[in-house]
Amino acid sequence: MRAKSLFLATAVASALALAAAPGARAEGIKVGMITTLSGGGASLGVDVRDGFMLAVKMSGRDDIEVVIEDDQRKPDIAVQLADKMIQSDRVDLLTGIIWSNLALAVVPAAVAQGKFYLSPNAGPSQLAGAGCDPLHFNVAWQNDDLPAAAGTYLAAEGFDNTLLLAPNYPAGHDMVNGFKRTFTGGINGEIFTKLGQKDYAAEIAQIRASGADSVFFFLPGGMGISFLKQYADSGVDIPLFGPAFSFDQGILQAVGDAALGVRNTSQWNKDIDNPANKAFVEAFQAEYGRLPSLYASQGYDTANLMISAMEKADVSDTDAFRAALEEADFDSVRGKFSFAPNHFPVQDIYVREVIKEGDVFTNRIVGVAATDFVNAYVDQCKM
């Protein structure tokens, strides 16, 4: 509820600003946020929105107007919302999409119409490689980044017989391929499950019988919760590793003890020691009464990147604004942050471990998996 009032306040403030000075819009920016606010994936969209709006609020600016719409996690709805925001709301910049398939549906058309797109989450390889675009910036990661860092880490730890588990859909294959790209040890086997599957008894039995020395898995959302609970109960003690998505703040409480001690790779955690991150974690808790998640941190960084560019250039001057974005001159909660030539982040990727602080399950950083990690598609991008 508080999030909503925050949004309203900003919207009202900017509406007033508009009414007072009709010609003065050149200074401000109008943002269209398309994200998932209803249905099963809503928790991710809510976090991105809250992180983004928090940064807008903390900036103290009243010239940022944000139009927020719910895509219901449906690609066709997302496309229509993008049309509406571009044609009817006449936004300058779009952001907010959580899922790769929705981003692939929206982003190419939006940038073709001259709108900026700042991605707070989805980073499909198509948009990083041949389909990269001067107006598209990703503030989170390329889909392969976190698994690739995990591959480096597992190889360095000396694992040599790893079993891979992911849902049978493009992002699942991307994750497995990302891991295999950097992992130099032996692969025990690959298991692909049905998207949305919730019972993993059969797969766990296979893992038990496999003789693998480690399991790397990518199962986002409810799939990951189910798998971790069942895995912990099965008594199989082969260590698990994965990208941060199954160990995010939003779902850890639902997994409970089953996730304790599992190591995962992430570009952010709440204990990264820098002033920007401290301010973010405190403000987020004060504003919303919960710990921020990875997605919230990405939403927050996205807004701050945009604000940093606004301070240098006007959004109507496309080339200057793009150049300002490329400088990434903002205090990222991750610490170091810059853009690779394809507008995807160059950043450190950490190894985290799930711990319990009091009653709350959360992560702490136990190591660095990769320093100044650059995604694998940079060379395919011609722009």
Partner: protein, 328 residues
Amino acid sequence: MGVRRETMVNTLLLAGLLAVPLWALWADEPFTITLATRVAILALAGVGLNLALGTGGLVSFGHAVFFGIGGYAMGILAFHAQNYTPLIESLSIPGTKSMPVIWAVAVIASALVALAIGALSLRTSGVYFIMITLAFGQMFYYFTISWPAYGGEDGMSIYLRNSFPGVNTLVPFNFFAISFAALLAVLVLVGRLMRAPFGLALSAARQNEARLRAVGIDPYRLRLTAFTLSGAITGLAGALYADLNRFVSPSMFSWQTSGEIMIFVILGGVGRLFGPVAGAALFILLEHFLGGISEYWHIFLGVLLLGVVLFARGGLIGLLAGREVAHD
């Protein structure tokens, strides 16, 4: 009287659907044109389902299959055309960006699939028919998700809308006009069909199968023909819908899509020629306005649907045109 009033309501509906985008064109509100285009296309999908469901009494819970096939016909043909790769390697048949060709392929492909699914499903009836059509829908859904060649769950983006001879389809109003014309043409066709011996026999098959057999008509073949036609029309709508979004994905095949097409038919009025037009218009209006009021707008949609099913069985058209049901 009911019939004449219904004709009036229908005329008003069509006039409204045409007037709104014309106004939007004047007021420079291109998104309203997009919404009207959506209404026209979804109504077309509903008209297809209504032929099976309303006239034929065949409650298909799997019409998303045909909608999706139409969409993927567009997606696959345009994908090969925009990447300059042959559609079939050995025969070097190229893809195409021409709407009429895409429509023809979409209609033929979905008709063939409807013929196959219908031939199998129509051996059952009642709940079994509902569920077997749902099962075929799920098969196609999971197949497209895990089939990597055309994007899997990511779907496929087509960067430019396909072309139509002599018309610039990139202008929103022009594409609306194309969709509206397709809807009109199909409405005329289905309207004639329903008054022709075929439609009367189909209606009779729903009401009294034994009598139909007595005059020597095989209800199975009759229904199969209706189901195939119905699938072909929904397939055409799928191709247009894909062109509207310039995007196709497996969600076109999902059971929720089947449910939504069904909702258009029921909201508007089952078995009434213009029912789906009214239903789709109402649905889009609700989605647009309720969605703006509350994140939880599905609750209101649910309550409204429930109200229509329980208290307004003739749907919106029934409410406006009186209870005499024109098609019985």
